[in-house]
């Protein structure tokens, strides 16, 4: 087997995330392609959480249902993932946690081994050692990593953890030697230069690359990681990171910051975005740029705070009263997450519109291996102008873009107003002018359409069946199609969902059948496509239980549709 899925399941607070962090790091350092994703409950202690780590010969970046090795850390674990346990699933753990679900079970006394190493709290390190042993990771890599990871602790704890790791490692080695488990995964040199990152890292680094120097936000899962990331980089990059008293304050601060010359963003989730919708509308009339990271989770209202969904697309499209242009990006490929978050700042600045970057919990919290990103040739363009004495903020222009001045730079005054305003920016109720300035604002849409991110076609250009996805479903759909090996089926991946690229119609018309795959209940992207192109797509594959699609699910659903097609 050259594609292994290891699942560790236990209660919140048992240290599953630490195991994940250490394992993914040492596996990456060893040269394996890896991917990891976690599903967790909205609680600090108890419940059942699980982490999946995929290890492979080739790049893998999506969640799979199958479990090759399960490590249950409590009584509830096996039951929690029972639907994913197959006849070949190997279960390793304490006897009472295994519960005799499959034939391939091996008792491993993690706590006892940890106690032998000095303290039962080293049990997680035994788990790490066990998996390292099974996969034949060079023990010195693990040892070195443990030393770094626990460097702030005293020598006794470091040595205890190394010993615990060794004990687990020996058990793993033994299982392999005795041919009880058989995995052969090749290492690759390419992995070493890759980045081990999650979506949060790439949104944050992309934003920094885009010149973001101000972030104001209110903590809300799963968006908070970006605020945390920025907070840690305040000194290094000269960034202001402020926790606002509410999302309302956050977006109004961001608009104030842009107005005075900063590049600002907010990071939030659906409920917070709802509070921001008045501010979004303000951005619309002020024509002050703003970048909004909308990290989706299932709603309505509080919904499932720690789970994933793509349920806010149409909300993002229609949020905010009144009519004004906007851009909505939905990167799914990791390289695009960095690239488009960076470009969002350029687009916002250039067109003076709000740009929404849509992600979700699955994309943000999962760890991916991504080819290294070269930033040496990047340059940011600033669009604000030095004002002269007669400067008018809302000068009516042919393309709708009025040169944006900032206060204190030049001799002019910069006046912006949430009331309808004249060219200078002062409040007006001249209704003839109202029509002119509405037209001016909306004219920017034509320019925006000229500089859109086209969808990417993956697979045979002469397809008959076209599978369509947006955002975080990218890797899952891609891998599902690779498994199906159907030369007549191709995948159209959207990273910008609004405005919808004009070539969409051509792609759809060429297909005999179109299938939209979305992590929501009502097929929102299919509706958007219908609205923009007039074309009704044929099938929708939807999932909305709070979890991402697994590769197997997509394969199964597509096979069912193909079968029906074949009749």
């Amino acid at each position: 087997m050259n594609d292994v899925s290891i699942v560790i399941c236990g209660e919140a607070g048992q240290g599953i995330q630490t195991v994940e962090k250490i394992l993914t790091s040492i596996l990456k350092l060893s040269g394996y392609y890896i991917f990891s994703t976690t599903e967790f409950m909205s609680r600090i202690r108890g419940g059942s959480n699980s982490t999946e780590i995929r290890i492979s010969d080739t790049p893998v970046n999506s969640f799979v249902e199958k479990i090759d090795i399960l490590i249950p850390l409590d009584f509830k674990a096996v039951d929690h993932v029972k639907q994913r346990i197959g006849k070949d699933t190997i279960i390793l753990g304490r006897k009472e946690f295994i519960q005799g679900k499959t034939k391939r079970t091996f008792e491993v006394q993690f706590t006892k081994l940890a106690e032998e190493a000095g303290n039962k709290i080293y049990a997680n390190t035994v788990t790490v050692g066990l998996i390292a042993g099974i996969l034949g990771v060079d023990f010195s890599i693990l040892e070195k990593f443990i030393r770094g990871f626990f460097k702030k602790k005293d020598e006794k704890i470091i040595n205890g953890n190394i010993e615990a790791g060794k004990k687990g490692y020996e058990v793993g080695e033994k299982l392999i030697k005795e041919n009880k488990i058989d995995f052969k995964i090749k290492k690759s040199e390419k992995v070493k230069d890759s980045l081990l990152v999650n979506g949060t890292d790439l949104v944050s680094m992309g934003a920094i690359g885009g010149g973001c120097n101000f972030i104001s936000s209110y903590p809300m899962s799963p968006s908070t990681g970006v605020l945390t990331f920025f907070s840690r980089q305040q000194e290094e990059f000269g960034i202001i990171a402020e926790q606002a008293e509410s999302e309302i304050s956050a977006i109004n601060m961001a608009l104030g910051a842009w107005y005075a010359g900063a590049r600002a963003m907010v990071t939030t989730s659906g409920g917070g975005f709802a509070l921001m919708s008045e501010g979004l509308s303000l951005a619309g009339i002020l024509e002050t740029p703003v970048v909004i990271h909308l990290a989706q989770r299932p709603g309505p209202a509080t919904g499932l705070p720690t789970r994933s969904e793509q349920g806010d697309l149409l909300f993002a499209l229609f949020a905010g009263h009144g009519e004004f242009p906007r851009i909505i990006l939905a990167p799914g490929k990791m390289e695009d997450v960095f690239d488009l978050t960076r470009k969002a700042f350029d687009m916002a600045d250039k067109f003076q519109v709000p740009v929404v970057i849509m992600t979700d919990q699955y994309l943000l919290d999962s760890s991916f291996l991504v080819p290294s990103i070269d930033v040496s040739k990047l340059k940011n363009k600033k669009y604000f102008v030095k004002t002269d004495k007669n400067y008018k903020r809302y000068k009516l222009t042919k393309d709708g873009i009025s040169p944006r001045g900032i206060p204190g730079y030049g001799r002019g005054l910069v006046v912006v107003d949430s009331d309808e305003h004249d060219e200078e920016g002062h409040i007006t109720e001249d209704l003839d002018f109202r029509t002119k300035i509405v037209d001016k604002r909306l004219r920017k849409m034509d320019l925006i359409r000229k500089e859109m991110q086209p969808p990417e076609l993956i697979g045979n250009k002469n397809y008959k069946m076209l599978v369509i996805g947006w955002g975080s479903t990218y890797y899952g759909i891609k891998e599902a199609l690779e498994r199906l090996e159907d030369s007549k089926t191709a995948f159209l991946y959207y990273k910008q969902v609004y405005p919808l690229h004009p070539n969409t119609k051509g792609y759809l018309e060429k297909a005999e059948r179109t299938i939209v795959i979305e992590n929501n209940a009502t097929g929102q992207f299919a509706k958007l496509i219908k609205m923009e192109t007039g074309i009704r797509t044929d099938n929708s594959i939807l999932k909305y239980n709070g979890l991402p699609f697994s590769v197997e699910e997509i394969v199964g659903e597509l096979k069912a549709i193909m079968k029906e097609e074949g009749k």
């Binding site: 070493k192 885009g210 104001s216 309302i248 005075a260 900063a262 290294s372 107003d417």
Partner: protein
């Protein structure tokens, strides 16, 4: 500086004849001119309401945002460019009602901005409903049996939160008001000016006569650094004291504490991304 440099020329002003806002506008121009604040350096931030229109009636940069939301952008503007003079101005409904949460947290944050709140104890632009500061028993088209809510006490709240500068003025006393606003603008940190003024159209209870009878100035021997005393003065309601109630000398302005300025004093608009540092940050993800 001549006050004329703030004049807008012939403009259509939306205030009623006899409105206290006219004196406030005049005082504001005089204060700015005496402090030599050039219009280009001045940012007037406001929300919505009759008072929030003030920025349109004098020369300066303007951010006229949403109802209740003047303080967050004002904070951010000062934070990203510390060379600017930022005044957040609006009415009692705007700042204390719709924007009440921002009022509380802006005081805690303590940006170096001046917050002038026109307090006429009534809603003007929406025509005569109760404001957060309306007195009990005040009859309105909505509060038909009179206001039954306890009036909001902005000064007591601000002093309770340890605000760095808390004052109250009355619009008809232009000379005194000018001195108070001047001190507020010069103060380094958040400065509240609760500015009482009559609403000639919708508040027949708190008219000019009422204000004259119900206000008095804090004496020369009053010590504004004594928080307990300031709080006591703020809770007086029979007669409302005027003047500078409280100065918290230990409060450091928000912008001074920002890490972003530790190694770089430039305003945000002059900064460029350090791609070398970003390269290193990205490389750190190689493990």
């Amino acid at each position: 500086m001549d006050t004329k440099i703030y004049d807008m020329g012939k403009i259509d002003i939306a205030w009623c004849p006899g409105c206290g806002n006219f004196s406030i506008l005049k005082v504001l121009k005089e204060t700015l001119s005496e402090l030599n604040i050039a219009p280009g350096k001045l940012i007037m931030v406001s929300g919505i309401g009759q008072a929030a229109k003030t920025p349109h009636y004098l020369k300066g940069n303007v951010f006229n945002g949403l109802h209740g939301r003047a303080l967050p952008p004002a904070t951010a503007i000062k934070a990203v460019n510390r060379n600017l003079v930022v005044i957040a101005e609006g009415g009692d409904g705007d700042m204390y009602g719709e924007g009440g949460n921002h009022f509380i947290h802006t005081i805690r944050r303590n940006p170096d901005i001046t917050n002038i709140v026109h307090n006429n104890m009534v809603y003007g632009l929406t025509k005569g409903q109760a404001s957060p500061t309306s007195l009990k028993g005040f009859n309105t088209p909505v509060q038909i049996n009179g206001v039954i809510l306890e009036p909001f006490n902005p000064l007591a709240v601000a002093i309770g939160l340890g605000a760095s500068f808390v004052s109250r003025a009355y619009s008809d006393d232009m000379k005194e008001t000018k001195e108070i606003i001047k001190k507020a603008i010069k103060h380094k940190g958040y400065a509240l000016v609760d500015l009482l003024h009559p609403c000639v159209s919708f508040n027949k209870l708190n008219d000019r006569k009422w204000f004259k009878e119900h206000t008095y100035y804090l004496g020369k021997d009053y010590d504004p650094t004594n928080r307990d005393e300031a709080f006591k003065k703020a809770t007086e309601t029979d007669k409302l004291p005027l003047g500078v109630f409280y100065i918290n000398k230990s409060a450091m302005p928000f912008e001074k504490k920002l890490i972003a300025y530790k190694n770089n004093k430039k305003p945000m608009y002059e900064r460029e991304v350090d791609f070398k540092k970003l390269k290193n940050l990205i490389a750190s993800k190689k493990g």
